[in-house]
Amino acid sequence: MSTQFYKSNPLFKVFNSTLIELPAPPNISAFWNFGSLLSGCLIVQIISGLFLASAYSAGMELSFEQVFKAMEVSDKGWLIRYIHANGASLFFLCLYFHVGRGIYYGSYLYVHTWNVGVTILLLTMAAAFMGYVLPVNQMSFWGASVITNLFSEIPYVGPNVVQYIWGGVTVEGPTIYRFFAFHFLVPFIILALVVVHITMLHMTGSGNPLGIHSEVDKVSFHSYFSLKDGLGVALASGGFVLVCMYWPLVLGDDENFSLANPSVTPHHIQPEWYFLFAYAILRSIPNKLGGVVALLLSVLILYLMPFTGLAKKKGSMFYPVSKGLFWGFVVCVLALTWIGACPVEPPYVLTGQIFTVLYFMFYLLTPISAALWDALS
């Protein structure tokens, strides 16, 4: 009786076809868990963000003091903030695993799903950056100054665009107001895009590690994958709770606890860990405009991946050279993350430049190597 209700009700049959009876390949590995983890992260971030927004006062002078006082005054305000701040890190960790899995197993061949996913990644980066600025501490102020200044490199209109973003002649009150407005709005756009992303994915069905069509061998999502995803969520939550409750500040910076001072530059300006690879690429190019272009390309290049499907087989599983290139790419990203946290001085500058070249070479070499492998085998 209840089964029929789930199948006939217009609302519940959507959930039934998405979360209960969805046919899924049985051989998908734990790397496919990150999709559901990301949905969980987004929900946690939106809910914790709503609580934080209810106690937030935007403004250059006000925000810093209010944020820390609200952590003590609001009931479990400190917990909500630790969850929101460290939740961003978990979000990006899952995003990078999700994108990495997509690159390795050729998920970019689902063009529309992939492109919507890359858009979600870009919007998440924008939301995270604007949220980081909101407490108006020393690092976030200077981070905002550096990143918004990059817009000045747009030909002809650059300086005007920067002033328009600032709402003045530097990062000040109006900048914080508009960043708060966008930081509040963008997650709901992301949520809508996630629905589109999932809908498009279900039109083609999930990929699998073998990269083959698996229409003949599928199992229902529930209870196989609902349990598997549930276990993933429980394990990730365990790690997340450990960080939030025992090392809540481990991913932050000491400068986050100093009031923004426009006349004193921090010793090292650096973003949060999840932007360090892109920041290292930005700094590797000696020319400011070139750096901005490289920074943008480091993420936008993902839009080009669907056009690199030159191989006969999907994914890197059956291409040893592609596998090697992929793991080399992972090393590059990790190295760039390290370089991004180092001062701009020798030998880090040259090291960063070498890894920047290798980072972009990956996107060029992978399709060529796979096509050559096909030709030779």
Partner: protein
């Protein structure tokens, strides 16, 4: 089961090269890190790690130390530094009785208003008030201290690398500068301060105050106590955090173990099945 011995020579070579590249990369990163450390002119001494009473997973704040630390803050630090994160009500049931906290608040004076006549007026403090600031604004603080305002101590513990270790090291680390190190007039040498010279004179010495609980107020005792108080100022929910952590971690461990077992139970038939391809026999 495949082992390294069973691999073909080309695969062994490839794996060997990969290992070599990995080890070489790690060695390069380490050597670069060290080389630059030695060349950085703006180095300062890193605070050694001390064993704080609250640092373990199951440890709470030492409330007696916080009470003494508050006395040090009030008698020594508060003349120049504010502490915007601490209200008198927060000391209640932590290091003071409610009556003590109320009396302590009343000793301070706060500018309030305007009253019905539109005038600002002074009133005694209430427990809801935050600790008073020593200067009315940043400019007054800078003017009274040679051009640089003393930092607020509310979050100073987290704002410095090393946290409370840094506070203790700084307060006990004043010394004569080494030969060849020029310290300008009005500055004091301290190896734990970035740049080595700071405007704050050594604030602590033996018997700088008398503790109400009779503990001998040696310089290191005062430094330890005020570091504990400032850690409390930066994170007053510390004890609550660790209590909640125990509950959540235990709960999630149980949920994870139950889900892991049930997940394996559900999947066991599927992952142990054997899929065979049996080609059709050609009909003769």
């Amino acid at each position: 089961m495949s082992t390294f011995r069973n691999l073909s020579s080309s695969r062994r070579l490839a794996l060997g090269l990969l290992g070599l590249a990995g080890a070489g990369g790690a060695g390069l990163a380490l050597s670069l890190e060290r080389a630059v450390s030695a060349a950085d002119a703006d180095r300062f001494a890193h605070a050694p790690h001390f064993h704080w009473p609250h640092e373990g997973f199951l440890d709470s704040y030492d409330v007696k130390s916080i009470r003494r630390g508050y006395e040090v803050y009030k008698n020594v630090c508060a003349a120049c530094h504010g502490c915007f994160t601490v209200a008198y009500r927060m000391l209640r049931n932590v290091c003071m009785t409610p009556e003590e906290a109320k009396a302590e608040a009343k000793r301070a004076t706060y500018l309030d208003g305007p009253n019905d006549e539109g005038e600002m007026y002074n009133r005694p403090g209430k427990t809801a008030d935050y600790l008073p600031k020593p200067y009315p604004n940043e400019q007054a603080a800078a003017y009274a201290n040679g051009g640089k305002a003393p930092p607020d101590l509310g979050l100073i513990t987290f704002a410095r690398h090393g946290y409370e270790n840094y506070i203790f090291a700084l307060l006990t680390g004043y010394q004569d500068p080494p030969a060849g190190f020029q310290v300008d007039e009005g500055l004091y040498f301290n190896p734990y301060f970035r740049g080595g010279a700071l405007a704050m004179p050594p604030p602590l010495y033996n018997e700088v105050l008398e503790y109400s609980d009779g503990t001998p107020a040696t310089k290191s005792q005062c430094a330890k106590d005020v570091a504990c108080f400032l850690r409390f100022a930066a994170e007053p929910w510390h004890d609550e955090r660790k209590k909640l952590a125990l509950k959540l971690v235990s709960l999630l461990a149980l949920i994870s173990a139950a889900l892991a077992y049930y997940n394996r139970h559900v999947w066991t038939v599927l992952i142990n099945r054997k899929v065979m391809y049996v080609p059709k026999k050609k009909s003769s």
